[in-house]
């Protein structure tokens, strides 16, 4: 029987929704499913993974694990795989998770497939490749299988259940603790992050000026979503890099992606085209985004968006 371990990333006292989504997916594939939470002061987070399908949640508590650095996490996960016999380790994409997964792959000689949007019970992953022009079915030939899933690949749907919380052994390699966190400068976040959001409202050059990002922010707030930006406006200093979607930013697949004043150049498209539903507002009728938007509106976003925000608010109240 398959034994699956899911890396549960956390930030500011909550398990990332992306990790819970992967856990919920793992629970549908059968076999034994466990999660692992690594950090300092994270014990109370562990039980929260039970409803999403973990029958066991391992807690690795140690001051040396407080900073979100990858290498000590490789040590913790490698011990669990070896001692407890997990044959599959799953991760939701993030800067940290990618480094942990690749380090673990090299440690265990375990195959790693990345960028997956799905996984079947018989071990076939779906991997959109080459700017999503081809969907590759990938498999594993190694004893231990590792996978990184694209942001928003799965819903974090609780199915009930409780987890047994257990202590994971913490034994760190010398080289794993050489890197040290000096400072963390994290912007205060309102609403969900782009990785965790079901709805993303993204702004591009067509907003006209940086102040007009308030249009995107207000619509996002009304829809309960997050704000993203194109590379052009991030480069122009209108919005922070952490919000950048596209080839050099994040790849997201929310349930709804609203593109405001975004032309839909290939560099942006590759970061968002796997969104379930895409709505685009652009005044240029020839903008490439209309080729792949489910609903394209040719018009002035400066008049449409405030009205839409009001309508959404009215409907939700």
């Amino acid at each position: 029987m398959a034994k699956t371990l899911v890396f549960l990333e956390h930030h500011e006292g909550a398990i990332a929704k992306g990790s819970l989504g992967v856990l919920a997916k793992a629970a549908t594939l059968g076999g034994e499913v466990a999660g692992v939470v690594v950090g300092a002061g994270v014990r109370e987070l562990a039980a929260g993974a039970g409803p999403y399908g973990a029958s066991t949640v391992w807690v690795a508590e140690d001051d040396r694990l407080a900073a979100p650095l990858p290498q000590p996490r490789v040590d913790v996960l490698a011990s669990l795989v070896r001692d407890e016999g997990y044959d599959t380790v799953l991760f939701a994409q993030s800067v940290l998770a990618a480094d942990v997964a690749a380090g673990l792959a090299a440690r265990l000689d375990a195959g790693l497939n990345w960028g997956l949007v799905d996984l079947t019970a018989d071990g076939v992953g779906k991997s959109p490749a080459l700017s999503d022009t081809v969907y590759v079915d990938v498999g594993w030939t190694s004893g231990v299988k590792l996978a990184l899933f694209r942001s928003g690949a799965f819903d974090a749907t609780p199915s009930g259940g409780t987890a047994e919380v257990k202590d994971a052994p913490v034994s760190l390699e010398d080289f794993s603790t050489l890197a040290e966190m000096v400072e963390q400068a994290h912007a205060e976040q309102q609403g969900p992050s782009i990785e965790d959001a079901d709805v993303i409202v993204a702004g591009g050059r067509g907003l006209g000026e940086p102040e007009k990002f308030s249009l995107a922010e207000e619509l996002a707030q009304a829809l309960g979503g997050a704000v993203a930006a194109t590379r052009a406006v991030v480069d122009a200093g209108w919005y922070p890099y952490s919000a950048q979607v596209g080839q050099t930013g994040k790849t997201v697949s929310p349930k709804l992606y609203v593109a405001l004043g975004i032309s839909g150049a290939i560099q942006h498209k590759v970061g968002m085209q796997s969104s379930n539903v895409i709505v685009a507002i652009n005044k240029d009728p020839n903008a490439p985004i209309f080729e792949f938007a489910d609903l394209g509106v040719v018009g002035d976003l400066h008049t449409i968006v405030p009205k839409l925000t009001e309508l959404v608010r009215a409907r939700r109240s």
């Binding site: 900073a67 979100p68 650095l69 290498q71 993030s94 800067v95 940290l96 990618a98 480094d99 690749a102 380090g103 792959a105 090299a106 000689d109 375990a110 195959g111 790693l112 497939n113 990345w114 076939v124 959109p128 080459l130 081809v134 969907y135 590759v136 079915d137 990938v138 594993w140 030939t141 190694s142 990184l148 080289f175 050489l178 890197a179 040290e180 000096v182 963390q184 400068a185 976040q189 992050s193 990785e195 829809l223 952490s242 050099t248 709804l256 539903v277 709505v279 507002i281 209309f290 792949f292 489910d294 609903l295 394209g296 509106v297 040719v298 018009g299 968006v305 009001e310 309508l311 409907r315």
Partner: protein
């Protein structure tokens, strides 16, 4: 200071990238070019060398023998020499095989600092550095948008989902740089002319410790799923209502 920059020769975007259905591998038969993101670590290495007033910048890659032509761009920018690990047994290598080959070559070079770009232009896993650092038993810092060398350690500013982290690590270290770190220089004519004469050496899999068995496999290639019927409307003053209606229909509000 000796800096190794790991780069990848990828099929030129202009001539199109495709997976060969006969081998289920990326078709590398056309012209190869250095991956878009690899000129940033090359630039960073050159800047560090220039600031120190001494040192060596070595470009390290794995790929077909023809990849040497692509590596020449890094030499034209100013790198001192190139090392290419090339071997029939490495064709189709996945993360494990690539990490082992590069780590083997890097061990022989024993640089003070190993740099990577933020992702490759074709595979795009954006995690190879962590596997290489694991093999080398050295610290790793990724997505670095500012890099400072302070004596025998580095300090890197890492971009994450939540903001910026400043991470310090002793040398030798492995660092992957983001494309916001610098603006790569264009090779000068003199640089281009001189690149061919710079040392370019190939090593076999055996030279760097043998090939690794792949842990992953490609099972099948499929076309992307079709999107539903697309609607395009012109705003006649009721666009906001129409969008709301559409969202309600899809149960998104």
């Amino acid at each position: 200071m000796k800096i190794a920059v790991c780069v990848k020769a990828v099929p030129d975007a202009a001539s199109g990238r495709r997976i060969d259905p006969a081998t289920n591998r990326l078709d590398r038969s056309g012209e190869l070019t250095i991956s878009d993101w690899d000129s940033y670590p090359v630039e960073e290495a050159l800047k560090l060398k220039e600031a120190a007033g001494e040192g060596e910048v070595v470009v390290v890659s794995m790929g077909p023998e023809r990849a040497l032509d692509a590596l020449r761009k890094a030499l034209a920018m100013g790198a001192d020499r190139a090392v290419l690990v090339t071997d029939a047994s490495l064709e189709g290598a996945d993360l494990l095989g690539t990490a082992k080959a590069l780590a083997g070559a890097l061990e022989q070079e024993s640089p003070d600092l190993v740099l990577f770009g933020q992702q490759s232009a074709d595979g795009g896993g954006a995690c190879l550095w962590a596997a290489v650092a694991e093999r080398l038993h050295r610290p790793v810092v990724s997505q670095v948008s500012e890099l400072i060398v302070e004596g025998s350690s580095i300090s890197g500013k890492r971009q994450t989902e939540y903001g910026y982290d400043t991470i310090r690590a002793p040398l030798p270290a492995v660092v992957a740089v983001a494309d916001s770190i610098n603006t790569p220089r264009y090779p000068s004519l003199k640089g281009i002319m001189g690149a061919k004469k710079k040392p370019q050496e190939t090593r076999s899999a055996g030279d760097v410790g043998g090939a690794e068995v792949a842990g992953t496999t490609v099972v099948a290639l499929n076309p992307p799923p079709a999107r539903g019927e697309a609607q395009k409307i012109d705003d006649d003053g009721t666009a906001a209502e129409k969008i709301l209606e559409f969202l309600a229909e899809k149960r998104l509000v």
